[in-house]
């Protein structure tokens, strides 16, 4: 019988695939952002604020941070699984990581939709 750990890897390729899809999206967004930021007429609050006030930019930026959080969840979880052996400690770190990332995403959403 396969020994299943509650903090194991879930033994599937879904996370592996999600990590790559989110990476591809973040790479595209990075290029888009780099072009948009480097072609700003001047680095003032007015121009910077206008860049993120467009509905499309807000949506794409939120999607970037959502991808980042999911991507980071998989990557950081892999780090804990590789180096942290006691199950209790590992579980605590998994929970802390997941909650932090959810909180960060909510924070970004608030910043973006306040504009």
């Amino acid at each position: 019988m396969v020994k299943r750990l509650v903090v194991g890897a879930h033994y599937g390729v879904r996370d592996w695939l999600v990590q790559r899809i989110t990476a591809a999206y973040m790479a595209l967004y990075t290029l888009l952002f780099a072009v948009a930021a480097l072609t700003l007429p001047a680095m003032t609050w007015e121009h910077w604020h206008a860049l993120f006030s467009g509905r499309w930019m807000q949506f794409l930026t939120f999607l970037f941070f959502a991808s980042l959080c999911y991507h980071a969840w998989i990557g950081v979880r892999d780090i804990w699984m590789d180096y942290i052996k006691p199950l209790g400690v590992r579980l605590a770190l998994h929970v802390a990581t997941a909650l932090l990332l959810i909180g960060y995403l909510a924070w970004v959403a608030r910043v973006l939709w306040r504009l």
């Binding site: 591809a24 609050w45 910077w48 604020h49 990557g75 950081v76 780090i79 910043v111």
Partner: protein
């Protein structure tokens, strides 16, 4: 029949291991990812400040103008660029592009050089 257990060579002394170039890219990918995760709240905090109002934008400018903060941001810029370049290399390896030994070494070298060069160029420009 020999009863002696064959002792396999175990070589895990971190001070003695000489990682090949693809191994260096790999461990730096992990370190840069972990570092970016640790500094994520700081980066979102700066993002928040930079967008909220002209007043908070001025506060943001003050923070990122400090030489020590600039040094940290330069490190994070390198981490992002390395993670980006190495990530593209890993995606290509997943698609079975350049998986032979020589191309793999070559692409590892390219990742280190491109991310380093971009960090210097963007770093100088932003500093």
């Amino acid at each position: 029949m020999s009863t002696q257990v064959r002792r396999r060579p175990k070589f895990l002394d971190l001070r003695e291991i000489r990682l090949p170039l693809p191994g260096v890219v790999s461990i730096l990918h992990r370190i840069s990812g972990g570092g970016l995760f640790l500094f994520l709240p700081f980066l979102i905090y700066l993002f928040d400040l930079s967008l909220t109002s002209p007043e908070t934008f001025a506060v943001y400018k003050g923070i990122v103008g400090h030489w020590f903060v600039k040094l940290i941001l330069l490190g994070l810029l390198w981490a992002y660029l390395h993670h980006f370049c190495a990530g593209i290399r890993f995606l290509l390896l997943d698609l079975h592009q350049g998986i032979d030994l020589e191309p793999a070494r070559q692409s590892a070298r390219v990742v280190l050089m491109v991310s380093g060069a971009l960090t210097v160029i963007l770093g100088v420009w932003l500093w």
